[in-house]
Amino acid sequence: MKPTRFIDLVPHIVLIVGVLIFAYPIYVTLIGSTWDSGTIGRGGLPLWPGGQGLDNYAQAWAGEAGARAKYTPVRTMMLNSLIMALAIALGKIAISILSAYAVAFFRFPLRMAFFWLIFITLMLPVEVRIIPTYKVVADLGLINTYAGLAIPLIASATATLLFRQFFLTIPDELLEAAKIDGAGPVRFFIDVVLPLSRTNIAALFVILFIYGWNQYLWPLLVTSSGDMETIVTGITKMIGTGESANDWNLIMATTVLAMLPPVAVVVFMQRWFVKGLVDSEK
């Protein structure tokens, strides 16, 4: 046995410091969500859990008035975020896989024109067309609706490119065999292409769910009523100007709940998540 040299420990020390830098704020938030707002507001938050945890979470979840203000219930905000994230993820996947199928398996006039039209969306993130997009959504009467939250975000060049790339690797023989068996394009899509795309769809879903859940600027613009509040924008509204006299216990409990779904997705679907991320950015 070789004795452990100090130099061998250095990587561990650096990595542990790294892990701690990322874990510490989460730990503080978790602890904070188990104390009362007074303790946190005075800056006297201990490093161990307090006894208020259940009350705080119950209160935040049901939206009962805190010591200082009344907030939208977390269950409403979570549901809104969930609907928005699912609609964005599934919507993007559905319309992208269809258009990629059209571009990859058909020859038709203006094919490349359509391809470029979709491609251009890469260069137009919502941030650069805030006001006019808001106006379109308002004219369509979609302010404060789930459709208004999700539909403007579901066009996706990256997902389309990814599926097209994958479709090009499907061997011609498969298509030939399907044709000989008398399968049309719809049959082929349902019986061959969809099952083959399963892993790609799963990987993409993980990434897009997180993308949807974490939307900020767009929900801030198109929702004005508390019923439609999403949880990420809801937290900053609860904080307001960040004075010390805030219902910090409820804010911290809400933050923990807001982090839970996307973090769980990353941790439990790690393999798919890394695949989806690396593939979709290639």
């Binding site: 258009s99 900053t236 911290m252 982090m259």
Partner: protein, 290 residues
Amino acid sequence: MTFDSRLLPYLLLAPQVAVTLVFFIWPAAQAVWQSVHLQDAFGIRSEFVWFENFEHVLTDPNYLDTLKVTVVFSVAVTVLSMGTALLLAVLADSKIKGARAYKTLLIWPYALAPAVAAVLWMFIFNPDIGSFGRALRALGYDWDYRLNGGQALWMVIMAASWKQVAYNFIFFLAGLQAIPRSVMEAASIDGAGPVRRFLTITFPLLSPTTFFLLVVDMVYAFFETFGTIHALTQGGPGKATETLIFRVYHDGVVNNDLGGSSAQSVILMVIVIALTAVQFRFIERKVHYA
């Protein structure tokens, strides 16, 4: 091999094309149109004014300050998050015990929204309730990022970088794992130490990843950090943490200045197009030689 159908491909494309036209192309065209027009207060009449809006924007000393803040912010976030991620990735990729656990513990911050990351940093560094914020004050340092512009900028840079390390880490790790072990072993046998191996083999072979991340991080710092800034400082104090994107939002939504906001949007579009073009030139090359 393809299918023959006249109507079907158009039907398949219809949903994507409809969304693209209605929510992307049309609004973008509107932004361009508005950027060369001046509207009266009621939005009834508008007059074609050539590049007057751009002239206003680009000669406004406030805008140039915002541009400076944006550059400082973006460069700092890119360098900090990439540097930290590269260090952690190289260590986690080496054959050490618990490498898997370290990986899991380092990638999850990817899941956090930029605004949530900002809120977490506030819990720590708020001068009234945060442990570090209070400690700094107890040490006699006048810490209050809500009043001090430099400190505010530091806060948003740190919170934005903190969140982006995980993303860079995942890609650096994937890049490192693609480097053939045999090359490293050969260098080892030739007597190259770890530092030399890193500088002469690892780093050059990672350059496609590095370049890719450079572009992605710039885009992130430009656009996605809106949430970080909105949640933490609202662009203030003064305009100390106002980036270009925050300003578009503020001028358009809060101040209702359509022409100016549109001109700014068009400038941002040009920046994104340039960044995307750079990215795709590079990807084409990678596909070519890979």
